[in-house]
Symmetry: C2
Subunit: 424 residues, 2 copies
């Protein structure tokens, strides 16, 4: 067993994975292991008791959406009694932004890794195999993923499910599939970093689907769907997250590899998984993001770091590709030079430079790809993550956006486990 | 008369002009002074005899489109006899890319400057006043604007005119107008420079129109129109050029101003106009652009510099905003640092920094805006222009893209004229 060979193989697989959006279906029909009494959530495993405000709010909203509860107390009772179970999205090949709730009757995007097909490792197969999944993005404002669950939030979710989802399903099928790796490569040349800034990717996505959306429904509905997709600068975030999940999954389960294949937060704990260390989570308490707050809110209002969207940094984009997105600093704070420096720093802790994701301002250098737990521990540099900031209380929603770092102890603990497992 | 005050007024007007796309109509119906035997073309005035290959080709194609000729010889006879007249787009408030042909029965975008309304100067009124115009963009490949006029070229023009134009006219009207200055400000943060790279702007434009296109026609036609707009990374170039024309027009006719308000080329001559020097053209022979050629072509095949698209640089974008668009170097040659340097150099010869067009990689500094003929002559630095490259022969089309500079003697001649006019 040679770590360098293993990491070369893991990062090659991560970069060569070609995630294509191939469809849309109800979670209960398409996600392996999904069942009627199960809710999927962001981050490592969590209980109701330990869950953050936004996570409890999102669970409540999801159960109201499913018709199983009418308020937070009922939701709590269902979860605490075990009548409704909670499992991480990452245990089912899925990735969800912020609270990341996926309920059985919600529609999810289906991504297929066209490169590796059935050769995805056994370990990865336990999390979804060749396919990955994510829900529909709700846009900005009061939304379930930030823990809001008012009637306004639920009404939008119902419109998305009943009206938009069938149209998108038909349009995606008629399109023959949308290559999300190619779309990301293009959007990184258009000022996106793929996590907090997906303006270009979202309109690329809308533009690619538009000719098919038009034919999938009546003119009024098509008009509404195209406006919803086109006005939401995060429309493509969820397909991008599922694509990053597919790329990271392709790198998972490589014997002897120290490459991180999952980073995820549930609002209480940050958790990582490592390619050569199977399905074990290494966790530690989350930090509070630093950033810019919406008018009327301050850091006092912020929830702990939350969401599976760190799968973007895991796959070499997001905070790692900040240099591609100088305009993002108006949203997350800092200067364009900070954005360049963020990317340069990430080369210190990654194993490869991406073959397909390149950064024009750095002379088209590939993005830093494949976090190596050895390098994190050696350098003392933790990954940089771009993120939204949720209110700490259930039912409120987004209060800002900013930057955060995962806790170092997870990487240290993983390195110890690696040494034990491989006998160094 | 104080030159500084005059230039401040001119550049303030240029920046405060707010060009909004308000409609689409047949050139003969909406362009002031358009008539049935008139063709508008790019650049300063030209005759058939002195016209370049691509200009002759485009004139031929336009006359075939109008049903007035069937080949180049007939086109030549019509123009040389005076039966068909040629006048610059810029004499009618219009701007056309490359050969820039606008024929009476072609549809043109209509832009209104919402800031200055009827207060646009008398001098500007002679060129269109508060409104400006440009044709529909044909996309890449064999196209009229590069001098191609095969049946394939004409068939596409007919589809654009008969099928797409009525849909766009309805969609633009239903949209209530599209603010092109705002769209440009956004696309400059998405890796565009607004002249040779309009990828982001074109999908922003498509996305904004899509909800209205859907309702303006049947599903099949809407699908075709959205695919045509969305697949063409230059869809928005023509509205952008008309918008820049509106902004530059707002700065024209300011007594005592040394700011350039038109730069345009017809393939034979480069021509400029200056705010304080009325409608006089200062001209000199064009250069051959330097750049990257499509496979199978070399600099030997290139036509002289051609097109009204230099109105973008005149208004502070295009080559002047290269620093916003590092990825453009894959198309026009050079390195991302060259792109930064191009913008930095242009601050040497401009009077203002744009209030609304900002450059993220330069810490959101405003683009260099308002070319001052005094500074050009003093520094010896001529404006930088991004451009497409046409084949020198009629009927061929585009062979590459690159960079070019206007001849210095025009600026020197204009400065002499300025001194004579104002008695320095």
């Amino acid at each position: 067993m040679n770590i360098e060979n293993a990491n070369t193989e893991a990062t090659e697989r991560m970069m060569e994975a070609r995630p294509v959006l191939v469809g849309l279906g109800k979670a209960r029909d398409v996600i392996p292991g999904m069942r009627d009494n199960l809710l999927l959530h962001a981050g490592p495993p969590i209980t109701w008791e330990r869950a953050s405000g936004p996570m409890q709010g999102a669970i409540t909203g999801a159960l109201i959406f499913e018709g199983k509860a009418t308020n937070e107390a009922e939701a709590q009772a269902l979860v605490e009694s075990g009548e409704v179970e909670l499992e991480p999205c990452h245990h089912h090949g899925a990735a969800g932004p912020m609270a990341g709730l996926i309920a059985p009757s919600m529609s999810v995007y289906v991504i297929e890794n066209k490169t590796h097909g059935s050769t995805v490792s056994e370990a990865a197969l336990t999390t979804g195999g060749n396919r990955s999944f994510s829900g529909l993005n709700e846009g900005y404002g009061k939304v379930l993923r930030y823990g809001a669950y008012s009637e306004e939030v639920l009404a939008k979710l119902r419109w998305m499910e009943d009206v938009m989802a069938p149209v998108l399903a038909d349009a995606i099928e008629a399109s023959g599939g949308i290559d999300i790796r190619a779309l990301l490569a293009e959007s990184l040349h258009m000022g996106d970093e793929g996590h907090n800034r997906n303006k270009a990717g979202s309109i690329l996505y809308t533009t690619k689907l538009a000719p098919f959306v038009v034919k999938a429904t009546d003119a009024d509905t098509a008009s509404d769907v195209l406006r919803f997709l086109g006005d939401n600068a995060l429309s493509v975030l969820n397909p991008v997250m599922a694509a990053c999940k597919a790329m990271a999954d392709a790198a998972h389960g490589i014997e002897g590899s120290t490459i991180v294949t999952v980073m995820a937060r549930n609002g209480t704990d940050f958790g990582i998984r490592v390619s050569g260390l199977g399905d074990r989570w290494f966790t530690a308490p989350v930090a509070i993001p630093q950033g810019l707050y919406f008018p009327g809110f301050t850091a006092e209002d912020a929830s702990g770091d939350i969401g599976d969207s760190t799968i973007t940094e895991t796959a070499g984009i997001g905070g790692f590709a900040m240099a591609s997105a100088p305009a993002i600093v108006t949203f997350v704070s800092g200067t364009p030079q900070d954005a360049i420096n963020a990317t340069l720093e990430m080369y210190e802790i990654t194993y490869a430079e991406h073959k397909y994701f390149t950064i024009p301002p750095l002379d088209f250098r590939g993005t830093p790809t494949g976090i190596d737990i050895r390098k994190v521990v050696e350098t003392g540099i933790t990954p940089r993550v771009n993120t939204g900031i949720a209110h700490k209380d259930a039912g409120v929603g987004q209060v800002g956006a900013g930057l955060v770092r995962p806790p170092m102890e997870m990487f240290e603990e993983a390195l110890v486990a690696f040494a034990e497992r491989y006998g160094f």
